[in-house]
Point group: C2
Chain length 203, copies 2
DNA sequence: CGCACACAGTGCGCGTCCCGCAATATCGGA
DNA sequence: TCCGATATTGCGGGACGCGCACTGTGTGCG
């Protein structure tokens, strides 16, 4: 959760965590959307070079392991927004932050498609996505000067943004699509982001 | 005029389905948010008056059984919107439809709180919520005359609406809250619903 | 320089779950 | 009333999640 780990020990831990997660995703992709049940824990552990028991020390379900990467990335949404210049309007700041976050490494089409077309994985992914709304909402609150405890605006906008990202991802994966993910993302976000913070301190 | 299966057999099936689901939710509430693991399949089945194997014929996981009610309700979002008068503006129609859908039987606080404070259940609930976005998006598309295959507007708005409902639910459950669910719901929806369909047939 | 400690990795075993298969009970319709 | 459809159930296997205890290695202190 903290990246200050200069600790070499923690580094190895993180490395094996990523190794397991990566192996899980890779095997899942190999089996295709309908073969999740065929991805045995034993296979994941072997592919990652650890024992099945160790795998279980890091993740308590295949879904969790497979979606770990997206979870980590989603967690960065809040700080991505905070990194935008302070004067920037909310809508532009959010769009810029999200586009940057989700296009720096162009998302893996196969992985995304795998997750979005597998109910069990989709549930896990949605959970992590929702978890990321909290930090994002706080960042929005900080930028707009709204008290998140008093007004729903930050949380609702954060949820809407997360939803727009999901929809954009879905569209991007559609067979006949030719547009870039960034373009779709901007379009989707522009639908919900005109939302303006409540005027004045009323209500 | 009736979508109720004239088939009496299907009725019984639906009845036992609800019996199992209801029993599952009740037991889960009894155990509290941290005792989901203590709700054994055997207990649910016994409480519902069926065998464990039958329980498994209806649901493939505890989470699914517990969240079945919310799933069914979420599925009605689309038709709730279609039931609104045709001339009504999109924002008012959606707000009216959603408020009606989620306040006719006032939601069960304990059940909602149970689900939202249990990660495993939350994932399942989010999945069902997301599933409901499809029909809702189609209804929005039909009302606005937008082709959902060409424009993201319907899907994005549907996702935003679902997000707003979630946020409203969360706020409603907060300890110090005194407002009615309907009021919170209207407020949350009003943040994202100013969104207007794309002008003209461009893009 | 070495030692004791903390902690990641591992093996084992138990309890539970999910589900395919096949037999049985039950109910609706002709 | 009887037949066919299907809902329910029992059984058994494969897999999983996790607590517990042990081992081996890197860490920091004396």
């Amino acid at each position: 959760m903290n990246d200050d780990a200069v600790d070499l020990r923690a580094r190895n831990k993180q490395a094996t965590r990523e190794a397991i997660s990566h192996a899980a995703l890779r095997l899942a992709i190999e089996q295709g959307p309908h073969g999740l049940a065929l991805v045995r824990v034993h296979d994941i552990a072997t592919a990652a070079g650890v024992s099945p028991r160790t795998y279980n020390n890091y993740f308590s379900s295949r879904e969790e392991a497979i979606c770990a990467f997206h979870a980590d990335q989603a967690r960065r949404a809040g700080q991505a927004l905070r990194a935008r210049p302070a004067g920037e309007p909310l809508d532009q700041a959010v769009i810029a932050a999200v586009v940057e976050l989700y296009t720096d490494p162009e998302p893996d089409r196969a992985g995304l498609r795998m997750i979005m077309s597998t109910p069990a994985l989709e549930g896990e992914a949605l959970k992590t996505f929702t978890m990321a709304e909290g930090p994002l909402a706080e960042a929005i609150a900080a930028r707009t000067g709204v008290d998140p405890g008093r007004d729903l605006f930050p949380a609702v906008v954060a949820a809407a943004v997360a939803g727009a990202i999901r929809v954009a991802g879905r569209r991007w994966l559609e067979p006949g699509n030719t547009e870039s993910f960034a373009a779709i993302l901007r379009h989707a976000l522009s639908v919900v982001l005109p939302a303006a913070p409540p005027e004045g301190p009323q209500r």
